[in-house]
Symmetry: C2
Subunit: 141 residues, 2 copies
DNA sequence: ACCATACCTGACTAAAACGGTCAAGTTTAG
DNA sequence: CTAAACTTGACCGTTTTAGTCAGGTATGGT
């Protein structure tokens, strides 16, 4: 299971973006300053977000990024997937017939981790960017 | 968030132990062989489990470990806590007034991670060792 | 035309975490 | 008295993390 800074920052940056992009594109510099995230790191992250069609870029002066979809249609799952944070709790390869112990049968705890995986993914699938923006409406930076 | 081999092995080993400890203490050697876990690593893990009163040790020949509580009373939460796998999704210190960004206010995604933390912990609190043993009754190694 | 702004790309790296191993015990049953 | 099993703590190679650095390229405002 992975939940690292990359994923955390991705979500943070997108919430920021969603709140400010209504008028103009938002530059990474602004996000960097507002959220205290390294600019270089943000560029790395947004490169991936762009490849996954979550944001669009506008180059040149006054350029920046804008969302490529409705915030309601951007689920946390999508974001994590874009930045390669996989919620993977089982150790074995899902399709393989072998267990994580190298034996022919699944290990003694396989079902448990699988259940947990579903549990967590459900959480991420039910949360959209819009939900997060809504919760932050009153506490503007 | 952490979910590493140590936690996984701890659960795996305890399920194994729970299934075999009815008659005699179970030696780590046996668990090691049955579950394909390094013996040295198991010793490290069981040392912690013992400190947290989850298992008892019986020294000498024919010794081994036995559970220190009813399998129904051993929740996964307890196991993870014992081996220092903390389900910690927020980045900031909970009690601190400062956010993970160093600012005075909580970061824009703090509530989200907090909610996730509760979501996962609930899962672990509702699962006991007994539940896992039950599910493996039919598929004996 | 120019140039500042902002996106874009890839290589690089210090530090931490992971997944153990190794060594040197101590305790107890048989 | 000795072998089996627990006990403790140091150690370490590899991988991942969380960025940094260095150089681009595109574009629009003046
Ligand atoms: S996690 Fe799938 S076999 Fe162990
Ligand atoms: S996670 Fe608590 S302030 Fe960011």
């Amino acid at each position: 299971m992975k939940l690292t800074s990359k994923g955390r920052y991705a979500v943070m940056a997108l919430v920021d973006l969603a709140r400010f992009d209504s008028i103009n594109p938002v530059s990474l510099r602004d996000i960097s300053l507002r959220q205290s995230i390294s600019l270089d790191f943000l560029e790395q992250i947004f490169s991936k977000l762009k490849k996954n069609n979550i944001v669009k870029s506008i180059r040149g002066i006054n350029g920046g990024y804008i969302l490529n979809k409705d915030p309601n249609d951007i689920k946390l799952t999508n974001i994590f997937h874009a930045v390669d944070e996989k919620v993977k709790t089982v150790q074995c390869k899902k399709d393989s017939k072998k267990g994580c112990n190298g034996k022919a049968t699944k290990c003694i705890t396989h079902d448990l981790w699988d259940e947990l995986e579903v549990h967590i993914n459900t959480f991420f699938e039910n949360k959209s960017l819009q939900d997060l923006v809504k919760n932050n409406r009153d506490s503007r930076v």
